[in-house]
């Protein structure tokens, strides 16, 4: 097997909010077309780690390396970096004043300066891909949570990112709507998208993840193949966590 390229590397990453030390010396790497699932209790730092990867949170110390380039938030153009790193949020954060199609084409047109015709063509293809071709002209408030999240995924994909970050993408959904979002994500994984996913959906982690990372109290406790983590966790704290949720 050929060596996969490195997409994200995090070295000795520390992040505090005031006195709260949220991330403690995190080391992690994500290779091309890997699906890495971050699990752990709330407050363990998984979302913060994810947000550090596209600089919505700025680390206090350590390194965040995107595709081999160490990003310095006060020197590098973060807008350029973020074009490569898409993000899907727990609460979708669709633009309520824009139709579904306009949500999707906003950034390609305004940031990448794509012509409207081209952006709309690509946008409609993406909406078809997430199964929402017929919702192009609808406003987000007319959609179900699952549909909103699929639009958010399409919107993110419209920038043709090389990495996708998912921050608890199904946590705000009614249980019956979780499946449609997860299957869209599975589809993406199958196509070889590099993904980092914070989730409580252990079924998804088991089935789709290449790596599962268990975090506790701002540290990575254990990282492994899903089969190993779920069937044979090495660390006591991982065992405790898994037995508490499974």
């Amino acid at each position: 097997m050929t060596e996969k390229g490195e997409m994200i590397r995090v070295e000795k990453l520390n992040k505090s909010f005031g006195d709260l030390h949220v991330l403690k010396d995190i080391d992690m790497e994500v290779k091309e077309s890997d699906v890495v699932v971050l699990i752990g209790a709330s407050g363990s730092g998984k979302s913060t780690l994810l947000r550090c990867m596209n600089f919505l949170e700025i680390k206090n110390s350590g390194k965040v390396i995107i595709e081999g380039q160490t990003i310095e938030p006060n020197k590098d153009n973060l807008n350029k970096v973020r074009q490569k790193v898409g993000m899907v949020f727990q609460h979708f954060n669709l633009f309520p004043h824009k139709s579904v199609l306009n949500n999707v084409i906003e950034a390609p047109m305004m940031v990448k300066k794509l012509k409207r015709a081209q952006a709309e063509k690509e946008g409609r293809e993406l909406l078809a891909k997430v199964g929402l071709a017929d919702k192009a002209d609808v406003y987000p408030n007319k959609l179900s949570g699952g549909q909103k999240q699929r639009v958010a995924i399409a919107r993110s994909l419209a920038m043709k990112p090389e990495i996708m970050l998912f921050d608890e993408p199904t946590s705000a959904l009614d249980p019956e709507l979780v499946g449609e979002v997860l299957s869209t994500m599975k589809e993406l994984a199958k196509e070889g998208m590099t993904m980092v996913v914070v989730t409580h959906e252990m079924g998804f982690a088991r089935e789709v993840a290449d790596w599962v990372v268990y975090m506790h109290d701002g540290k990575i406790v254990e990282k492994g193949k899903p089969a190993d983590i779920f069937n044979d966790p090495k660390e006591q704290r991982t065992q405790d966590f898994l037995s508490s949720i499974l």
Binding site: Q83, G86, M87, F89, N93, S99, E106, P140
Partner: protein
């Protein structure tokens, strides 16, 4: 008190003398509100800026304007600017604009800050700059949310334009007092001018409501 028929008769027959004043009131109001919205937006952005100096400039401006009576501001403006030969129309318009701008700045600041911060994050995560996300994502939503209080402020601005009568700008209220003094029929003309303002405000309210309806397509 004038009889109702006398009032009605005068109301209907006096419109030629009120016409100029009415037109002037509409112009002063429109110009001052337009400038006030720009000032308001600018100072709202100053106020939420990360740059401390801009915060301070906005705070001082708002504190001074809100802390002093409009009539005093208009007089200061008028007398302060006489040496520059500023026409009364502009003294009144700029005075009113600066006054309303301070209140509109607070309206905009509130509405901008009321937009969920996930909206800015979503924009930034798509590669937008802070300015672009502010312009394309935050401000359109904030403006819509600001419309009801903004409409209210516009109505206050319209009525406050009557204070320009005190620097002898011949707008609506000034016409009413002049006519009243000339005919010794003050009450009739005051009632008439009250009707003019009332009708203007009602028309304006209607327009704001229409705009709100049009902008709420996505609610």
């Amino acid at each position: 008190m004038p009889t109702f028929s006398h009032f009605l008769e005068t109301l209907l027959s006096s419109y030629p003398v009120f016409f100029e004043g009415l037109w002037l009131t509409i112009r002063v109001t429109a110009v001052s509100i337009l400038i006030a919205v720009f000032i308001g937006l600018l100072f709202a952005l100053f106020k939420i800026s990360k740059v401390k100096v801009l915060n301070w400039i906005a705070n001082i401006y708002i504190a001074v304007i809100r802390g002093t009576p409009l009539i005093v501001q208009i007089f200061i403006f008028y007398f302060g600017l006489t040496e520059f030969n500023i026409p009364k129309f502009w003294a009144a318009s700029i005075g009113l604009a600066l006054h309303n701008g301070a209140y509109i700045a607070e309206i905009f600041r509130g509405s901008i800050q009321s937009i969920d911060k996930g909206q800015m994050e979503a924009g930034r995560s798509l590669g937008m700059s802070h300015t672009l996300a502010m312009r394309r994502i935050i401000l359109p939503q904030a403006f819509r949310r600001a419309l009801p209080p903004l409409g209210n402020q516009f109505i206050i601005g319209l009525k406050d334009s009557s204070l320009a009568a005190f620097i002898a700008l011949p707008e609506l209220f000034s016409v009413a007092t002049t006519q009243g003094a000339r005919t010794f029929d003050e009450m009739t003309y005051l009632l008439i001018v009250a009707v003019y303002y009332l009708v203007l405000v009602l028309i304006f309210t209607l327009l704001v409501n229409l705009l709100e309806k049009r902008l709420s397509a996505s609610d």
